[in-house]
């Protein structure tokens, strides 16, 4: 059945109707038809991250999951061009064969959703723009997108960017698409910058005694010429026994003490320079060997996977907040969170993952105010089943909302694509 006939048939009346266009032309035909009929659609990939954002109000669902496969991989040119819903696992696998990787370290949201890995597709990643622990050094997903192709809300196939890193030809729409939650285009093709994998890694663990000290360490780490590529703070949170148990079981490593708060920082590179950097950093942070633990590469790699899988919040039934603030305000936030909410800090003091108990939902409002006062923002990544959406799950001010509406209008004038997924009116 052609898309057109299908849309016009009785099945179209069924709100559970899911379309699976097979290529860009079919996506274009489908959206053009929906545009004609003023009939909005939810856009999904492999459904691994569709729980993030507001629920869309639409009669249709368009799954782009069949638009998958690697189009062109040029290791020597440091790029890979893929169909939009190519699974992250498939991309990582082929890159790994050439000792390359997606440097932004994709977060695996499968663990918080269902307790097991489900990385989903590259289109999903680009649409959310959530990078992992290496972000503060290498940039976010948006910094690794060289170009894309997709279908706007009128059904037109559009493209922007290319395969080269230096490109200032026309507006940089790749950036705009990153983090747009499928509200501007249905992606069909994505070109990513890839980078060589580092030879090895080591992780050093410090056991700080107070919040000021944590941020003093973070500041020294981010001010050093001996570059690090990850720094987290995992608090003990002694009031919540379940969290302590979970934390101790997730971060159970031979060389890591349990039942304590700790900072972990990662150094990557060739083996000689790793030792040199750790030597320099110990000096700059005034650390003695007796104060620290070191995780070798066999412990270091799984450690950062567990961080990026958000395993301490595995299958959480509460609200999970992702909050980003300038690091200078971090110690104040830690003090507030201590004994109130379970959390951990990534990106060398900038990124907070905060679990807000479903019985304390009203606190989200206070936390959001704090995010704004500190010059940052928050997103409620996962909501509890009781969440009443009284507090918007995204952070936006009036002017940015007004501009976002205008931008949405220019891509999708009838609000066909994922309406309301981010903000009302967008």
């Amino acid at each position: 059945m052609s898309t057109k006939i299908k849309i016009n048939s009785q099945i179209f009346q069924d709100s559970n109707n899911i379309y699976y266009p097979k290529d860009e032309t079919e996506v274009s035909d489908l959206i053009r038809e929906l545009y004609k009929q003023d009939s909005p659609t939810e856009i999904i990939g492999n459904n691994s991250k569709s729980f993030i954002g507001n629920k869309t109000q639409s009669a249709n669902t368009t799954s782009l999951s069949k638009i998958s496969g690697i189009i062109d991989y040029r290791p020597e040119e440091l790029y890979i061009k893929v169909k939009a819903c190519t699974p992250i696992n498939e991309i990582e696998q082929v890159l790994s064969e050439n000792n390359q990787e997606l440097a932004f370290e994709p977060i695996d949201f499968g663990y918080i959703k269902e307790g097991k890995s489900n990385k989903g597709t590259i289109a999903g990643y680009l649409s959310c723009n959530y990078a992992g622990s290496r972000r503060f050094k290498v940039g976010s997903v948006r910094d690794h997108v060289l170009g894309f192709k997709g279908v706007n809300g009128k059904g037109d196939i559009i493209k922007s960017g290319g395969t080269v890193v230096k490109n200032v030809t026309g507006y940089d729409l790749s950036k705009l698409i990153a983090g747009s939650f499928g509200t501007l285009v249905a992606l069909t093709e994505i070109t990513l910058k890839v980078l060589p994998k580092k030879d090895s890694s080591k992780t050093v663990i410090i056991y700080p005694s107070n919040f000021e000290q944590i941020y003093d360490f973070f500041n020294k780490l981010s001010s050093s010429s001996s570059e690090i590529s990850g720094a987290v703070f995992i608090p003990e949170q002694s009031k919540d026994k379940d969290f302590v148990t979970k934390k101790n079981s997730v971060f159970k490593f031979n060389d890591l003490k349990s039942n304590v708060s700790f900072i972990a920082f990662r150094v990557e590179g060739d083996k000689i320079s790793i030792e040199e950097k750790i030597h320099n950093l110990k000096k700059e942070l005034e650390l003695n060997n007796s104060d620290i633990s070191t995780l070798d590469v066999y412990q270091s790699e799984p450690f950062w996977k567990k961080v990026n899988n958000l395993e301490v919040f595995e299958k959480t039934e509460h609200n999970l907040i992702r909050m980003v603030i300038p690091p200078a305000n971090g110690s104040k936030l830690c003090k507030y969170l201590e004994n109130n909410h379970n959390y951990f800090v990534d990106w060398c003091g900038s990124l907070f993952w905060i679990e807000v108990n479903s019985k304390k939902e009203e606190k989200i409002k206070d936390i959001k105010k704090m995010a704004k006062d500190f010059g940052g923002y928050l997103t409620v990544i996962k909501t509890s089943s009781e969440y009443d959406y009284g507090e918007a799950i995204f952070t936006v001010d009036k002017v940015r909302l007004m501009i976002s509406e205008k931008v949405k209008q220019s891509f999708d004038p009838k609000r066909i694509l994922n309406p309301g997924k981010m903000y009302r009116g967008v």
């Binding site: 040029r74 020597e76 040119e77 000792n99 390359q100 723009n129 990078a131 503060f136 940039g139 910094d143 196939i157 559009i158 493209k159 922007s160 290319g162 080269v164 890193v165 230096k166 490109n167 200032v168 030809t169 026309g170 507006y171 940089d172 729409l173 790749s174 950036k175 705009l176 990153a178 983090g179 747009s180 060589p196 994998k197 001010s223 010429s225 001996s226 570059e227 060739d270 000689i272 320079s273 040199e276 980003v324 603030i325 300038p326 690091p327 200078a328 990106w347 900038s350 010059g375 940052g376 923002y377 936006v396 002017v399 940015r400 501009i403 976002s404 931008v407 209008q409 220019s410 891509f411």
Partner: protein, 498 residues
């Protein structure tokens, strides 16, 4: 260069000049408004100096509120506005229009805050790129993007053009190194995107503004990320007997997993020109010269240098010299940085092109350029940011010879079309401006361009902000058969054409 089409002049605006100047003088200090012929002359062109136009008036506001009031006024009175930073742009993005106000940001020249704890600097847009590094280098920090004009170009202009530099493979361009901007829209609305934290949520409007060439808003404040200066920086100067061997070595360095801080290639014509000019001590027998810069900790750099040496020897390099001091490293760069003036000394005029190509296509591109050089009987020298694939052929000509002028322009246009054919783009870092406007159709089809115009329309409905730049005037594009307009029927009748 040949004549270019600009938006139709609104004669009613020209007739109201004195009234407009009077009103502007109320919105800012009277001495910030320039309207006499001799005052306007310095603003007639930017660094693409073959094109000149006299603006209606120049206004140099001193703060964001004044910018907002001026834009609000121009918006309500339908007066076009051309924003300008330091005027160092090479694509004519700040070319004035006769019926437009030129809005100069030169008085926005202060650094507002240096925040080491959050590793950022909040600055006004008129501060120079290098000025930011100067303000933080005593603490061992720097601002990474380093366009060749960094001594003079403003950070606001860098945001408008998304400027790069020789280190952009490892450290990215402007868009990867800014955290936030304050901007005024054409209707006077003041807005803020981002701040001191990473990755604003929602639409990445900062990412949209960066590289929008002054078409979507006027940037009045920028927050940039600062980085710690690397412990050790060393460079290698490597000569090759052929273009192919040098190009292959550059490709192999990248594919082996090394990310150099900078990697530059110069062809024989440029080696000779720069060595004559700057006495840099380059290997004059080489057909191609590769400069590779590596940074990091001491052992990291030593390790990388060993790898680079091995790759270059494998590819039959004819000479290899490593810098053993900071002075020597800078001397390696001296010739490369003198490339443009060196060409200037060889011919009355030179025209600098700016395309990007996949790194591996370098030999093919250079060969093609050589053929074109013979075809047009004009000498050309090439430098290439080999790390990121950005190619700068410099065509030498005599601007007083009209025929040479015409040929130069055609030659340049063919080079950029070659870049697109090889899988690259028409501008890597200079921007489209007016210079490459008509070539946009080489890269984008009707849908792509209409989507971009549609964004422009949504943020500047009356098309008053820097009109006539970046996007082809449809008539010309259609005449050249690149945009498909069937039977004179426009696909988007509701959209303005500029």
């Amino acid at each position: 260069m040949s004549e270019i089409a600009l938006p139709k002049i609104d004669s009613s605006i020209l007739n109201r000049k004195s009234e407009i100047v009077k009103k502007l003088s109320k919105l800012t200090n009277i001495e910030n408004v320039l309207s006499e012929a001799d005052e306007l002359r310095p603003y007639e062109t930017d660094a693409l100096s073959v094109y000149t136009q006299t603006p209606l008036a120049v206004v140099l506001p001193e703060n964001t509120e004044e910018v907002s009031e001026i834009l609000k006024y121009c918006h309500s009175e339908n007066i076009k506005v051309v924003p300008r930073g330091a005027g160092t742009g090479l694509s004519g993005g700040a070319l004035p229009l006769q019926d437009a106000i030129l809005l100069g940001l030169g008085k926005f020249n202060k650094i507002l805050e240096i925040d080491y704890e959050n590793k950022c600097v909040v600055t006004q847009p008129g501060v120079t790129n290098l000025g930011i590094t100067h303000a933080v280098q005593h603490k061992g920090f720097y601002y990474a993007p380093d366009p060749s004009s960094q001594l003079a170009c403003s950070i606001g202009g860098n945001v408008a053009e998304n400027s790069g530099g020789v280190h952009s493979l490892k450290y990215g361009t402007t868009t990867n190194n800014i955290l936030g901007v304050q901007m005024v829209m054409m209707d006077g609305t003041i807005c803020r995107f981002g701040g001191k934290s990473f990755d604003q949520e929602g639409y990445d409007l900062m990412g949209l503004i960066c590289g929008s060439e002054g078409l979507l808003g006027v940037v009045t404040e920028v927050t940039v990320k600062i980085l710690k200066t690397p412990e050790v920086v060393r460079a290698a100067l490597i000569g090759f007997p052929s273009i192919k061997e040098g190009g292959d070595a550059a490709s192999e360095i990248i594919s082996s997993g090394i990310v150099p801080a900078g990697m530059e290639i110069m062809d024989k014509a440029l080696i000779e020109a720069t060595d004559n000019f700057s006495k840099a001590g380059y290997p004059r027998d080489a057909e191609l010269l590769l400069i590779v810069e590596l940074d990091g900790t001491e052992s990291e750099v030593n390790e990388l240098i060993k790898k680079v040496e091995a790759i270059c020897k494998k590819n039959n390099c004819s000479s290899l010299k490593l810098s053993n001091s900071e002075k020597e490293r800078l001397s390696f760069w001296a010739g490369r940085k003198a490339a443009f003036p060196a060409c200037g000394a060889m011919a009355p005029d030179y025209y600098c092109m700016d395309g990007s190509i996949p790194r591996g296509k370098l030999a093919e591109a250079l060969l093609e350029i050589k053929k074109l050089s013979e075809k047009y009987e004009l000498p050309v020298a090439n430098c290439f940011h080999a790390g990121d694939g950005n190619l700068h052929p410099l065509i030498m000509f005599d601007g007083n010879d009209k025929e040479q002028l015409r040929k130069t322009e055609e030659f340049g246009s063919e080079i950029l079309k070659t870049c697109v054919r090889l899988g690259g783009v028409i501008t890597g870092e200079h921007g489209v401006g007016i210079e490459k406007r008509e070539l946009m159709c080489e890269m984008f089809n009707d849908n792509d361009i209409q989507q971009q115009l549609s964004i422009k329309k949504s943020l500047d409905e009356k098309n008053l902000l820097n009109p006539g730049k970046v996007y082809p005037i449809l008539r010309k594009c259609a005449e050249e058969g690149r945009v498909h307009v069937h039977k004179n029927k426009d696909k988007f009748p509701d959209l303005p054409r500029f």
